[in-house]
Symmetry: C4
Subunit: 357 residues, 4 copies
């Protein structure tokens, strides 16, 4: 690290990362679809709930641990599946995973990671999920499911909001070219699996339907997590085909603009889940208070995406550790001040709607 | 085109057009009545609805075509009747019409067009509507109805919100003088047909009543579209006199300020229409998502006005084509991400009110 | 006038007046109590209602005349009782009254006018009201009531919101000293009638109660207008003691800050009036649309205060005429576009609440 | 004082204090937890209620006196317990207390005062409360209760919102080090009583429960005031253990961010109190109107915190006197203009919700 003072919150991490990253990389990370209304809304929506402080409830022994799909995590903050961590630090996903493992949380590895699934599995002793799409080629999907199982991954995360390419205007202006990840089976595989129109990211099949997710579920013994759900109707359908969890996500505002914030649709998703599957969330988490709010609204845990890149850009593995530690400290304060010594004690009474003033 | 990068969205088209047009022309196009509150509101109101993404619904074959008054269009975006396209490009309405025809949509030709109705009808093979006012002189109205029929126009669009001249302060400050169009039957006709006070645009009769619209309907075999409707009551009255469609419009905020946005009154208009007439909309359409929102609220299609001038100013016919193509691409993304492969599948469940944060 | 372009709306009148007036005089006119929240709110509240355009209703012959306490006015905009017009123009109230008379409206003359009631009555042939306070000295009050009657005034306007001096911070900072008006019976009268603490404006008795207003009503044959009413309860009490009209007013935000806008409490006042007395309004009127909104909510007419000073500062009598003419033109547009040819046809259906976007 | 004009409101006091104080001290006083959302909200929330002016109610003899826990105060504004007044003026708490006594109000003395409780008690003839925490060491607590009684204090104020250290980012950036107060029994006592993690302010026991507050109540004959209450549930619990009053407080936004404003939860607290205990409030009081609003919502009196430091920084004892006098003058105006001559006449009808415009 240089002589800048160490960042004391995630916003300062972002500012420092912005200084250090090439503009086009920073923009790729920061940007979203079209007008970036959803990017902003994901963040600001947390302010529409206020915390209700409680006193005299013995908060001397806080316990931030919980479980996600049966795996114990030390903090209810997981690493979202984001492609290409090497754009922020030469050690890429390896650094991120070591940080996650060091802090006792789960990392979801992107289909477009810069390290192979297997290389990552060997980098630390922690918990990994593999993220993929419903590819056009079921053979590719099946081979990835098998690779995940073989490499000891804990779950399969299927990203469902990428069946059509987004319009990210910062990238168009920067003429940004993403390097495809190393996990595809053969050179040019991405061309085969590209959605219509060609050349877009992700390789997700635009023709995929719920049958495809059902088929994925049938092809693996690992739990299946459906990512990119924003409606109660789709939570219902996930439950119907036997998914184990959903991630309420609008892809950080990077695919479709003009959605509600994820935290705004969380209650609808939790109600639809009826306890049949776990509900997770990503989008806009920057403060410990955001985490507590999401948990109070029914999320089992949350993910961070952009902040992991900021941590990497600032200080590699140690930067990601610090990002996680800052969130932990802020979650502790929030839990203590609201009289909630355990994750299980965080319920809806922690919150009240905060009218816009 | 010069060396500026090609605009990638309609806002960039506007910025580039603003550079290229004389200030008074840009202001004439951009401006609205008095404080321009309605101009701004037309735009911002779209943000008060959020889109609800849906997944796994086979969006591999999107179909954006629909029909408007029985005419098939390839995209639910029509060209609004705006006077004087030559202020933005020497080819004027001819360029616009060629673009509309090339992209399979309808152009409504303004009473104040710079090319005559007949010249335009010969410029391309597409679909044209003729816009007029309830003139004081029914003979003039009748002659135009006959000219429209003779020239192969598909419909008559009667603008109803211009019975009294507006106060457009940019034009007053710029001492802006509009050139009257070429369609009037004799030199000085506009003086005859000017509303009170004299000299205002449009030539609409301030004494006109519903009887006049009923008379117009009786004088033509073409469908009659009532433009400038902002209340359920007036939709009712349109239905009563047998109009075939209404355009929910506040004239782009150019006639009466302090109205709601058109998209805000759309649901009221659709409810009042009870399926008896088609409901169209103009006002503030700048993104494909806006189009999908209007359709979800019950519009059969929408119109663009100011953006056609931006397209013309930037690159003539090709500029208008590009404007339409950008909207098409954005509509496609929105439909795909919301799991709506056809225009018919866009319904109210696509939307949810987005509280102001 | 100098070479500045003639102002085309009241905001431009204000800007020009600000250039021409000494800062302390401009500030005295523009300023309000403490944080000036009510000054701003008076203005912005109009935006919380939208107009509902209507079409095809024969607006060829607009009639803006109405009656106020039986007096016919040509436009529903009256001149509020504001002290010291000479601060804006050497002709002071005489110029204002001539403008009001020329345009067929009523002028309410302030207790603190720079011309005596009698001098004004001789300056033109129009309609005048006399404004006073419930003075400590009933003899003074009685003598003014008699003077008003003798000079041919049409009504007595009793200002009720000034029983305690306000805190106007601009004036404190500017060390502003108001010149007491010429109407008081003897030098130093203002000291006798000053409220507690001494030296404040107005001379209103802080101990006054409804009995005092009842007494005033009993002492004059002229109609009595209660000014400064902001609640339904006080409208009730006005009706009980037989007042003929109320002016819903927060004194332009100049006495108590943190109130609602006058237009926001208008409906409450109108409901309480139950038709027993006329309801008038001042506060924030800057556009013709504001006037129409107030009328739609039940006001019989409205007053302008600050704009008369801007008119005076810009061009004396002709400036005030122009201010009134601008409002008339804007009222005409609004009436025509909403399909309301007469003042009587302006009702609640002209409006709809406009949600903040 | 220097040549700056004397501040005429509390905002000007703040601006002048900011000029005079070292940045780190100003920041310590001004700052709050994390994003300082609650600091800002405490202030802005007052604007969400409007005052309802009333007229003709005899306001010639205003009486601002009331009682708090049986003690008569001349004005319903008390001095909040804030540590270390010497950071703003060399005379510290002594100056503040003299000002409070001069103006007939109560001063709550912080556990972290720069003058000992006993020294303060001798500095003037007024009313003092002693503030403490539920310390880990009940012996320390007991000794302070006895000292308070011995020194003639009127009440015990137990701060309950400080069981966990806050995150105040200004202080972190400024590397701010607070000097521990003089009241602790032995050098290093603060280490013994520090919460987890060590080194934080306050010495409050994170393991404390309602039993501890009940025990405090049992150990003193003085009234016990619970400070830092933000929910109806905790008011209930305070009533249950026999507390005499609560202070609705979020510690000026200095402990947990993202809460509602104190004035927003006041009604909930008052409802829960059911008249069994007095409800007081601190947070964001800057204008007399704020005081009247809080009283109208059911507070018996309010506290000022930051403004006392501004008063001290500007002019020591006389600065605090002036701060209190400004508030008194503004309360008088508000009471007079709302027709409320006594504190007891201020009820809920003074207020109406002010929709955000």
């Amino acid at each position: 690290m240089n002589a800048s003072p160490a960042p004391i919150n995630l916003f300062e991490f972002e500012a420092l990362a912005k200084e250090r990253l090439p503009k086009s990389e920073y923009d790729y990370i920061a940007g979203g679809a079209t007008d970036e209304i959803s990017v902003e809304r994901n963040r600001r929506a947390y302010e529409s709930w206020a915390l209700r402080p409680r006193v005299l409830r013995d908060v001397s022994a806080l316990d931030l641990s919980t479980t996600v799909l049966g795996t114990k995590v030390n903090v209810p903050v997981l690493i979202a599946p984001c492609g290409g961590h090497k754009k922020a630090h030469p050690e890429g996903e390896v650094a991120t995973y070591r940080a996650a493992a060091a802090r006792g949380t789960i990392m979801a590895v992107s289909a477009n990671s810069n390290s192979s699934f297997e290389e990552l599995a060997n980098a630390a002793t922690g918990h990994l999920w593999l993220q993929l799409y419903p590819f056009r080629d079921r053979g590719l999907t099946k081979s990835w499911l098998d690779r995940a199982k073989g490499a000891g991954y804990d779950a399969i995360c299927v990203t469902l909001d990428s069946q059509w390419p987004p319009k990210r205007e910062r990238n168009i202006r920067n003429n940004y070219r993403r390097i495809r990840g190393v996990n595809y089976s053969k050179p040019g595989a991405e061309a085969v699996h590209a959605p219509r129109p060609a050349g877009s990211e992700g390789g997700s099949d635009p023709a995929a339907t719920w049958k495809d997710l059902e088929w994925i579920k049938s092809q693996t013994a690992l739990p299946v997590v459906a990512k990119g759900i924003m409606t109660g109707e789709d939570v219902d359908l996930c439950a119907e085909i036997g998914a184990d969890a959903v991630i309420v996500s609008n892809h950080g505002g990077r695919h479709l603009d003009n959605t509600l914030a994820t935290v705004e649709v969380l209650a609808e998703a939790v109600a639809a889940a009826k306890g049949k599957l776990e509900v997770l969330l990503d989008g806009g988490i920057r403060r410990g208070a955001d985490v507590v709010k999401a948990l109070a609204l029914g999320a089992k845990a949350v993910f961070i995406g952009r902040p992991l890149f900021w941590g990497l850009a600032v200080d590699g593995e140690q930067g990601v550790v610090r990002v996680l530690d800052i969130l932990r400290e802020e979650i502790e304060i929030t839990m203590a001040k609201c009289g909630r010594p355990t994750i299980g004690s965080i319920d809806a009474t922690v919150l009240v709607k905060a009218p816009r003033l």
